[in-house]
């Protein structure tokens, strides 16, 4: 276990790689010169300080393009995937609103996509929210049926942040292209985790995040296709940087960090995916061998290597997180959200609210070790067993009482 310098308390094992990732030290090394000696404004055209910063930013643009099969000219820097999603969806909707006004998205999208769509509804756009199947995947026939003459954009995330399932990108892209509809995808959780190719998958716009791929927080990118050209209305106005799509001085160190993170991911993705898949499956087996009534949420195969979303029946998720405070994980239980509603993603799978309350998301990544996962699995087995020993629901289940047969007073 690591120790924090502040109080020398042991720090929990980090198993929340879908929330964020630590910066790779190689990324930090690449960034450092651009804070100090190479501090120039990349938009300064008249001296060396500007030129070297610009060169660094343009190199990063190429590194980002390379991991998704795009040209550097198609990469727009943003502050992160939330901004990229806003720019893509609002930008396309508002630019083409004279011709088309309908957008199709999915109920399990990230809040920043759903909230952007809600905002567009207020502006008069029509939004279709597609359901997902029990495994978390989009039904392609439902997608086809949802497309209309007025549909301008389909926005479907590649990898879900809670359950890690991978949507059929190439199939969705083909459907969109055949109907002349732009295809935007939130790839915050996908870049560097699964192979992506904007041409093979017919992706027109792609949101990218820095801090999900061992890069810095505060930077992201939006891929915007040039051929055939996709237009977006700028959401931030100013000096016209990023070909007018996103004004504001670029944060050179952050751009460099994102570029370096992409380059590392591109080189190491295949090996990393293999290693994480083995580790994850071993962990999953150890937990389910040691505990009955543990259920995997989301498709078992079509998921990223670093994600497990498990429901530990009869044990409430937040209570469980408190019981495994040696681990930094997250839960889909109500108590972890301000709204007191359980995860809308898990509910969208058709999961009963009581099962959604018992879920834990375990996210592993580049710096996770076998020893950490063995410890984590054994701890989960021990603590879930303890919490079940004081769960009235577990007692009822052991006595063969059907919990659904009881008249509960919902509060």
């Amino acid at each position: 276990m690591n120790h924090s310098p502040a109080n020398d308390q042991p720090r929990p094992i980090y198993l929340d790689y879908q929330a964020t990732t630590p910066c790779d030290p190689r990324v930090v090394q690449a960034m450092l010169p651009y804070f100090t000696e190479k501090f120039g404004n990349p938009h300064s055209r008249n001296h060396m300080y500007g030129w070297e910063a610009e060169e660094a930013v343009e190199k990063a643009r190429g590194q980002i393009g390379a991991i998704i099969g795009a040209s550097d000219k198609e990469i727009v820097f943003t502050s992160g995937a939330t901004e990229s999603n806003n720019l893509a969806i609002k930008g396309v909707a508002q630019f083409y609103k004279g011709k088309k006004n309908h957008i199709v998205t999915v109920v399990t999208e990230h809040k920043c996509v759903l909230d952007t769509c809600r905002h567009l509804e207020l502006e008069g756009f029509e939004i279709t929210y597609l359901p997902v199947k029990q495994d978390g995947l989009v039904d392609l026939d439902q997608l086809k049926a949802a497309l209309k003459d007025t549909t301008v954009l389909v926005s479907v995330m590649a990898v879900n942040n809670e359950i890690g399932v991978i949507q059929p990108m190439a199939e969705i892209g083909a459907i969109c292209r055949s109907k002349g509809v732009f295809f935007h995808t939130d790839c915050a959780q996908a870049v560097g985790k699964i192979p992506l190719d904007v041409d093979a998958m017919n992706i027109d716009l792609m949101s990218i995040s820095g801090h999900k791929i061992y890069g810095p927080k505060g930077v992201g990118a939006l891929y915007v296709r040039r051929k055939p050209r996709v237009r977006v209305l700028a959401q931030i106005n100013g000096g016209g940087q990023e070909r007018g799509m996103r004004s504001g001085t670029l944060a050179t160190p952050l751009c460099v960090g994102l570029g370096e993170a992409c380059e590392i991911a591109k080189a190491e993705m295949a090996d990393e995916a293999k290693r994480l898949t083995v580790m994850r499956d071993r962990f999953h087996k150890r937990v389910t061998d040691g505990l009955p009534e543990v259920f995997l949420n989301g498709h078992a195969q079509h998921r990223v290597p670093g994600n497990l979303n498990l429901s530990f029946a009869f044990v409430e998720g937040e209570g469980l997180m408190m019981a495994v405070k040696e681990l930094a994980v997250s839960s889909g239980s109500a108590c972890t959200s301000a709204s007191l509603e359980p995860s809308y993603v898990l509910r969208a799978l058709g999961l009963e609210a009581e099962m959604a309350h018992t879920s834990l998301r375990i996210g592993i990544g580049r710096f996770t070790t076998e020893a950490e996962l063995e410890f984590a699995a054994d701890l989960l087995i021990e603590r879930v067993t303890k919490l079940r020993s004081f769960s009235p629901l577990w007692e009822m289940a052991q006595q063969g009482i059907d919990i659904k047969s009881i008249q509960w007073a919902e509060h």
Binding site: F314, V315, E316, G317, E318, G319, M322, A323, S333, A334, C335, A338, L340, P342, E352, A353, E354, H357, S389, F390, S391, P392, L393, W394, E395, I403, I406, W408, A409, E410, H411
Partner: protein
């Protein structure tokens, strides 16, 4: 969110976890909450012929604050008369455990559990023989 020391103490060392025989006439059982809402509390009290709560047990499905609230009330109701136990308010529980606003519902549930257990005990006894233990 961080938890108060008292919540952590009750959560890690819960008092009076367990079950009493719900069919025993001396035992009152309160089962409140709902699995769909993420918390279910079962509080059981064992009442002496003199009307004193001499034992209390709980089992709770819920977050740390819910488990701590139910653990705490099992300590508080022991040795009290039914009327004294019924006077325990959620605000006392919330204050003692320093629950944040988002967790107040846990203390409300604990108060409801006491009232439900007392009510169950009373319905097992003939209301006309109030105060006497009906055997």
């Amino acid at each position: 969110m961080s938890y108060s020391d008292k919540v952590i103490d009750h959560f890690e060392n819960p008092r009076n976890v367990g079950s009493l025989n719900k069919d025993d006439t001396h035992v009152g059982t309160g089962l409140v909450g709902a699995p769909a809402c993420g918390d279910v509390m079962r509080l059981q009290i064992q009442v002496s012929p003199e009307g004193i709560i001499e034992d209390a047990k709980f089992k709770t499905f819920g977050c740390g604050s819910a488990i701590a609230s139910s653990s705490l009330v099992t300590e508080w109701v022991k040795g009290k008369t039914l009327d004294e136990a019924a006077a325990i308010k959620n605000t006392h529980i919330a204050e003692h455990l320093a629950l944040p606003p988002v967790k107040i519902h846990c203390s409300v549930l604990a108060e409801d559990a006491i009232k439900a257990a007392i009510s169950d005990y009373k319905t097992k006894h003939n209301p006309s023989k109030d105060g006497e233990a009906a055997e």
